[in-house]
Amino acid sequence: MILDLAPLVCGVLLAVSGAAKLLGRRTAQVAANTVLVRVLGNGHRAAFALRAVGAVELAVAAGLLAAPATVVPGAATAVLGAGFVGYLGYAKATAPQSSCGCSARDEGPIGVRSFARAGAVLLCGVAAAFAGTAWWSRVARDPGWSVLVVAVAAAGLLALSTDLDRVWLPLRRLRLRVFGTPLPADPGGRVPVEATVELLERSLAWQASAPIVRSALLDAWDDDGWRVLRFAGVHEDARGARPVNVLFALDENATADANPSPAVRVSVIDDRTQEVVPVDLLALSGLRRPLRMV
């Protein structure tokens, strides 16, 4: 059963990868990243070689699908698979970061999957060479089992494909569209601290206190409708430089979406004495003079 269905599975596999190499618009681009460039001298020859391999794959695929019970197409597939393994081994040894060009869309470096895929072609070819019955007769005789075997083989080959994302992506998208996203929606709760920091860092208050603030956010807490953000800084005045805490208080529910220019309460507190340091922030930073508020 498996032997009889092998020509169908490898035929389709080779037809798909062969067509992609022969007709793919990006074959030249992919070829440029393969070890073939170094072996053959330039990118044009490498692209030609890749397209030629694609043509051979298509021819072998046609043989497998049309004359499954004969030995030649299976043997040709096995030779092709052995060739791929050899090519990968050579490329891996001489240029491990090069792309394998295996499916003409794949640009990742050569890895375990590339070898497994080439090995699968080899094994598939050997199996196909020993097929005794044409696959269409086998499918007609045991339709249920045939579908199962082909499905399992296809799943196995897909799992070996580095193009897996291209297969899964539309499926994953579809799943999300049907079942909705599993990610949490807005619970309508509190504004994230990061959003308040973002609001602060885009405010006039931040601009005004830039000459003093040295650290990134040290601490944040909510108190009675206010969100207080604490930064460390250095304040220089006639008495010299001293470490200070710079505290910003904003409405805990404010975001940049609703109010891009929020009012921010700024206070500078001496780190040693805990006294509020009188600082004319706007004058200090070269902005306008502030309104004095208590």
Binding site: E201, S203, W206, Q207, A210, P260, S261, S285
Partner: protein
């Protein structure tokens, strides 16, 4: 090389890592110019070469960003705080076309589109890395 004072562009900056590094940055490489290091004051510019421009495509967002090759020197100024850092172009980026229309503002005055990427050393000199992006003026 000295950093100039002639207005070149304005927009958003983000930061990126390059060169030898830890974590996911380890695979970043030394960038399009081959000289990029996270610990140097360097930047990625969306139009270092035609190939670079074809990837970043700032024109899609209406940004006719001029070409400045590897080694160009720019002065980047945080629009909100006025903090400045002088950087050397060492890579191609950011992917402007992926974030068209995104704005970052200072007190309501907004800069749109990602037009420059800074190394962690350069970004942290004018802002905090956890902020992710900043509105900047760029001089040369």
């Amino acid at each position: 090389m000295a950093c100039g004072s002639t207005s070149l562009w304005a927009g958003e900056t983000t930061w990126f890592c390059c060169g030898s590094s830890w974590g996911p940055c380890g695979s970043a490489g030394t960038g399009a110019c081959g000289t990029c290091q996270s610990s140097a004051h360097q930047a990625a510019w969306p139009n270092t070469t035609q190939a670079c421009f074809n990837i970043t495509r700032p024109d899609v967002c209406g940004e006719g960003i001029p070409r400045r090759g590897c080694g160009s020197v720019m002065n980047v100024k945080h629009q909100c705080s006025g903090a400045e850092v002088c950087v050397t172009v060492a890579d191609c980026g950011p992917r402007t076309q992926s974030f068209c229309g995104e704005a970052t503002c200072c007190n309501g005055a907004c800069r749109t589109n990602r037009v420059i990427d800074l190394t962690p050393a350069a970004f942290s000199a004018i802002g905090n890395l956890d902020s992710g992006k900043l509105p900047v003026y760029i001089y040369e």
